[in-house]
Subunit: 156 residues, 2 copies
DNA sequence: GCGCTCCTGCGACCATGTCGCAGGAGCGCA
DNA sequence: TGCGCTCCTGCGACATGGTCGCAGGAGCGC
């Protein structure tokens, strides 16, 4: 319980709580719990994953509170969410995962790529449409190499 | 009822129905209705738009039938759907709209761009991750020029 | 320690989509 | 033309992911 990693974990938690406070929000148990869960689940938890993780430690925390907490954290700029094609969004700490998410439509595996790969597209889209794309904020559906080999390309 | 555009409309409907048949499916009223609705709503109808449009002409056609019909049409390669960030997918006839969809997260306006703008990204992503992205199949969230000017850039 | 105000738990609600069932209709075949 | 197999449909229940309104409780500034 007093290992360096736990210390780092506690530090990160404190830092995030402080930033949440600085943004004008109160510090409460559910918010602590959601931040802890986000730090523990450092992959790409869906809202549902977060609900499950929080519930395992704090069964009294309600689902809707977690959604509201995620809203508050988003508003404070501490958390952002990414829509993976079909259905649920995944959440992660802002800054810690600023990269592009590429999801295999077939097996749901997620790859990451540097946001730089979209620089060219970003420039062209801005020139042609005036829209400024938001590359960290969405996932690109794709087919991973394994699924590409094992399945017929016609399946979409 | 006999104008050239109506003739073209009927021709397209017949063509699509024939292709559906060739793919081994039966021709039924609901399928005709969904195809007509897709031709009429040539923007980007959500499933709900389609349900509403079909219901206005054929009130007896059930919601779930429309979803199943869209499945059948997808399977036959006549229709594809695009996930716009939050929530619902939009459907359109395959081939007729092979372009990239860029959606303003703020005002929901949709811009189109040639798929070519992603060629560079596509190549880089394939090199680095082995994933083959599927550019026509998803929408990119963005901020349109108007919303970019009128709102603070911090809002995400 | 007080009290304002925000936050929480609860449960109902909504939207989008899926499923299983029983009956009806399309279409291949004779 | 008519028969019959099999697919398709209408229906309603269900699943999932998320939101909302309410009344009570807790954080935090003073």
């Amino acid at each position: 319980m007093t290992e360096p990693s736990d210390q780092a974990f506690a530090d990160q938690t404190q830092d995030l709580l402080q930033r949440l406070r600085d943004a004008g929000h109160r510090l409460t148990t559910p918010r602590r719990a959601v931040i802890e869960a986000l730090l523990i689940l450092d992959t790409h938890p869906t809202a549902d994953d977060l609900v499950a993780n929080v519930a395992s430690h704090y069964p009294e925390i309600h689902r809707s509170t977690i959604y509201r907490t995620l809203d508050a954290l988003s508003e404070a700029g501490l958390v952002s969410h990414v829509h993976l094609g079909h259905g649920s969004a995944v959440y992660h700490l802002a800054g810690s995962h600023d990269h592009l998410h590429i999801v295999c439509s077939s097996c749901d595996r997620v790859a990451h790529a540097d946001l730089g790969v979209l620089d060219d597209a970003k420039r062209k889209i801005q020139q042609r449409t005036g829209f400024e794309i938001n590359p960290g904020h969405f996932a690109i559906p794709a087919i991973c190499a394994d699924c590409l080999e094992s399945s017929s390309p016609g399946a979409c």
